[in-house]
Symmetry: C2
Subunit: 336 residues, 2 copies
Amino acid sequence: MVYTGKDIKNIVSEIIEKKKNEGGLKSLYFVGCGGSLGALYPAKTFMEKEATCMRSAWINSNEFVHNTPNDFGKNSILLLACHKGNTPETIAAAKLGKEKGASVIILTWLEESEIIEFGDYIVKYTFDASPDHLAGDIDYAGEKTMCALYVAVEAVNQTEGYKNYDKFYEGAARITTIIRNAREQVKDRALAFAKEYKNDDMIYTMGSGAGYGAAYMESICIFMEMQWINSASIHTGEYFHGPFEVTDANRPFVIQVSEGSTRALDERCLKFLKKYAKRIEILDAKELGLSTIDATVIDYFNHSLFNNVYPIYNHALAEERKHPLTTRRYMWKVEY
Amino acid sequence: MVYTGKDIKNIVSEIIEKKKNEGGLKSLYFVGCGGSLGALYPAKTFMEKEATCMRSAWINSNEFVHNTPNDFGKNSILLLACHKGNTPETIAAAKLGKEKGASVIILTWLEESEIIEFGDYIVKYTFDASPDHLAGDIDYAGEKTMCALYVAVEAVNQTEGYKNYDKFYEGAARITTIIRNAREQVKDRALAFAKEYKNDDMIYTMGSGAGYGAAYMESICIFMEMQWINSASIHTGEYFHGPFEVTDANRPFVIQVSEGSTRALDERCLKFLKKYAKRIEILDAKELGLSTIDATVIDYFNHSLFNNVYPIYNHALAEERKHPLTTRRYMWKVEY
């Protein structure tokens, strides 16, 4: 049986019911590798902020397998993301979850793969599989980042209660339209970005809050992996405590200005960048239309917005650099 | 009253006793900025691995103040690190801690500063204040990273129990000798490193487990802040899921090979780097003598070892580049 994001409420109910005689649901682990780990970041921040009893952590699959938390077991949900179901480290994490008696939820794009035999629940997420993810015709509320959030929201709401539960799902119902409009809005800007930065060999990304995950993914999956451009993602709260000393008029920064509780951190960096950096690309969630989502829950939607606006930039950059996003020199090609 | 690392056992006892009639100690927050946040990383990993009930999180001060976890309050310890006690965002976090009724422990180097009025317990850590931290004559078991670990170890042991408690303190008793020997051991290597990399404008650091904090600090505080060299810290579990595509024979990587549970992750990256990267500097905790510490607790000491071996490299690099570690263009000089 393969589920979708809409089934997550019932999946979590079933898990909680099952664990009732085993001491209850006590921890929720978000585990994956690279972009699949980054996509779980908003759910991690949700648990840190909104849960008051349940433990949680956000851990790379290989670290999780080699350095497993002591409480991981029958009172845990293990939430894995694995795009094609063939990442060996994440398969190993799923196996470990089965052995330890955890409830294993696997977010994946393929219905059939190596990993699915080790999952209690296989959730197929929506994914824009068109070249360079340009089609933009999917239901963004069904993507992996949103599915991970649903697991967190349901786990908290069904155990200790979550007062902004309805507002959260109202936000989810709006995200697809917001993203589609935002993607249209940045088209010209993305072309200009590509022309301006095509010869740069180092580009920083910046972000905060739940949206930091999108800055991390753009840095490691696009600039480093798909364009071979050196990169680092800098948390805007950390910028003034070391990283800002590399700032100069030549070095490019892509800065996400989030909507919600950490906007002040991003705006402070932006003000500084405008004075000393010059070559900056600003993704402002307010300008991109996120603000129709209620203020109590808006934080958690920044990631989906930024992460789905980036492909417009990425495609333009790849075209301008004549370096297709699919080009690899090591991944799937050499032993590692 | 100013305490030291040796008082932390009693401090935690007192806090737990005080909270008994208020629902008990339920969460432990590690909060700081830049290097002060990085130094708390091993304690974060300790809580994730060893605690089974207590919640914890590791959060930048400004993010913490703007996006405060809902459960933060009278059942929490807020553990802050603030070197000179004058970081505005960390002072704001301490104030918030007081307002919310949390027990605020401040790790600091100065006995008198702005922050101390907002702390319930002021713990003065040891710090090598000699130029470029070269003297090496301090008690490394009293440093901020170790003090943060003591808070975590005591919080877990005094509530739910920690079976490797004695082994942990035996390790702590050995760390100073290990670090001093390791610093001697790398002296020549550090000079060669400085000569080799003095003209590079981008250097990656890599690490895993508790030691990842040291890789983060070297990247943001030394390469970026003190040498204006572009940098990023890459988790060795994440390397093969994006970042490794930037690897080539010219790009330098400083890789920490930890002792303990995540060593396999580091070794896998090292093998790849040796084949494709060529310009690599290896800090191997085993070779540097960490292995006399018991295997059950060794993970948590990697950070202190690496973080205190780096100054030998950093001094040599700064000399070779004629760029003193104290040089800043923005920090303390312009408005931000």
